[in-house]
């Protein structure tokens, strides 16, 4: 098993480690389907969760993953913390570290924070989102969803639609999908494409109606309501008209194709009507897979020496 210290960005892993984590996820899928979906793999270890940006779903996903592995969880969210009293990022990390944490899961509005904090702690650092830069565990979960559906990511045509420029999910996904050999295409208004997207390992397709026909995976990004105020698009109506997955457009998808979205959805903007409930829309699957993959990530980082074979659930102990 290759040894990884941190998961700050997709490049911390590389293709082999990504595949290893996807394989591990199958084990944890089995665990999650047990009557008591809990194993003692990380018992005695502490996972600190440090969320400087609001996020219920990602934080809970990590917390659930840690608890299913029997790790202790320390939650730290900025609104109730000393950060509001002016404590510096560095002081916060050093305090958490000295309380004893083997892993720190961090989300911050500013790019680069996960890399900065590795200078100030011996703990493994897991990036839960740094500005518009990366969200590697989301990508791993998305790779897992695609792999469960198609058997692999390799060779699949994955079309990502939406505000690429401001999306950490898009940046991590372009890296992860490309590393696994997918053919990635981006569809977005010109104002929402990064200035140097021509140097990315992707095709840029202007017209969603063209791209949608060849997509094995149609991956929709959330269109933030603020972008209209910044004149990045004239209106949300115009966005939906040209870039939204409307009922008409959804008819153009191949029968075998799937629809994905990292959540939360702006219904009526990037995705309309009942589409999220369609059988080929795997949006809720993505959420469940997120917990499983985060179990695999935490185990990959902290679980060395704890064999997976024969990991039994906690019998009488509670969570």
């Amino acid at each position: 098993m290759t040894s990884t210290k941190h998961v700050r960005g997709v490049d911390d892993l590389g293709k082999d480690s990504i595949l290893e984590i996807l394989e591990l996820s199958n084990h944890f899928l089995e665990v999650s389907n047990r009557r008591i979906p809990k194993v003692p793999a990380l018992r005695g270890k502490t996972v600190a969760s440090l969320f400087f940006e609001d996020s219920t779903r990602t934080r809970l996903s990590f917390e659930k993953a840690a608890k299913r592995l029997s790790a202790d969880v320390m939650n730290f969210s900025v609104s109730s913390s000393s950060v509001k009293k002016g404590e510096s990022l560095r002081d916060t990390i050093e305090t958490i570290s000295s309380m004893g944490a083997e892993a720190i899961v961090v989300r911050h509005k500013s790019v680069g924070v996960p890399w900065m904090i590795t200078e100030w702690t011996d703990a493994s650092v897991v990036n839960a989102g740094d500005g518009a830069h990366e969200h590697p565990t989301q990508s791993l979960a998305d790779c897992y969803t695609i792999t469960r559906q198609f058997g692999s990511v390799e060779g699949k045509r994955i079309v990502i639609v939406g505000d690429i420029k401001h999306s950490r999910v898009a940046r991590s996904n372009v890296k992860a999908f490309s590393a696994l050999g997918a053919k990635v295409a981006l569809v977005a208004p010109p104002t929402l494409l990064p200035s140097s997207v021509d140097n990315w390992p992707v095709d840029v397709i202007e017209d969603l109606d063209v791209a949608i026909k060849e997509a094995d995976v149609l991956y929709l990004l959330r269109m933030q309501l603020e972008r209209q105020k910044e004149s990045l698009v004239p209106s949300l109506r115009e966005y939906t008209n040209f870039y939204g997955l409307t009922l008409d457009r959804s008819q153009k998808l191949q029968k075998s194709s799937i629809i994905m979205h990292p959540g939360p959805m702006n219904r009526g903007v990037e995705i309309t009507g009942d589409i999220p409930a369609f059988p080929n829309a795997l949006i809720t699957n993505q959420v469940g897979n997120g917990v499983i993959v985060r179990m695999a990530v935490l185990y990959h980082l902290l679980g060395s020496g704890v064999g997976l074979a024969g990991l039994h659930s906690e019998g009488e102990e509670d969570g």
Partner: protein, 422 residues
Amino acid sequence: MADLVIKGGTVLDKSGSRKADVAIGADGNISQIGTDIDGEREVDAAGCIVSSGLVDLNSDFCQPGNEEIETIESGTRSAVLGGYTAVMLMPHTSPAIHSAAAVKEMQSLRSEALCHIELSGSLTLDGLGDALSPIGEMASLGVRFFTHSNLASLDLSLLRRAMEYSSRFNVTIGLTPFVGGNGHMNEGNVSSDLGIRGVAIEEEEILTYQFVKMAKLTGARVHLQQVSSPKAIEIISGAKADGVSVTCEVSPHHFALTDEEVRSYRSVYKVAPPLRTGREVEAIKKLITSGQVDAIATSHTPNSLQEVDLPFEEAPYGVIGLETAFAVSVTELNLPLHEIMSAMSWVPAEIAGIEATHGGVLSEGRPGNLIVIEEDTKWSPSISQMASKSTNSPFDGHQLQGKIRHTFINGEAVVLHGETQR
């Protein structure tokens, strides 16, 4: 017998170079330049270059107002260690240098300085860009340079009026072609990869063009500060050929570092205008070599210790540079020392209006504002050993060539063998 003799070096000035000793008299001026001069005290310059001290056109010493970050004393200590005998200070202190009273306070703070301090005044009140400062009153107190660096709030019609009004007071207006708040780094491959908002280099070129056009329209004399775009330099050269009274400066970090450094996420690479790409850095170096850049200036900008550990997007712009500027210039530029001295001493002295006492030709009667340079010495700067209170140096630990051995201010040795004497 002379008071003090700088012995055994090669004197370099505008007229050329020759092996000579330099004698300093009791009045602090050069009393004699010749061979085999004996002195009461002798300072060793064997194997070294003796020249006029460097003159910086762009430094921030944070006093008054933010003395915990840097002071006149710590900033000038930094300056003399880097070979500067004169530094022009930017006016965005607290209070800003936007009144006669503020000018007088700054002039009185000269007693704390280890080298000469030249003042610049703020073009507008508090630097806010809404209303003109009392330019005439400040000019009559000796201020020759006015600057505005907060371009987010300066409209062009007010700038035009500032240029027209100041034209009768024989002052120079310093302008930086950067709009604060529009982006944290160069817009390009790196900003796209990192998801950090970038500023396109074209914005600097557009602002530069606006400034030189305005200077032509009003007859004002302008100095473009912190230029990082090769095309902007070409625009300035075109304006010069067109008769516009314009000069420009480039900072060492803009010809030594590229935007690739930001992949480290370290805020020590956050400057305004931002670090550009490798291609632009090579082009800037060629333009400096071909003489199209008038001056090299440091834009020494200290930050507080709290700001050191801020994420890149939250960190303030600016880096310190007085102690490394000379060595970075020698190391990075394919330029004879004569040309480097022109860009770092003789021309900046003229732009600042202090050529009577700094830079220029070394001869009897000239003030003893001199440095002794070890042109070939290799060394590595270390922030723990710098005199600046601030630690934001992007050259910490770099391998550099070119060291200042001694610095003299009005004939007094303020730096000997790399150590300040007071």
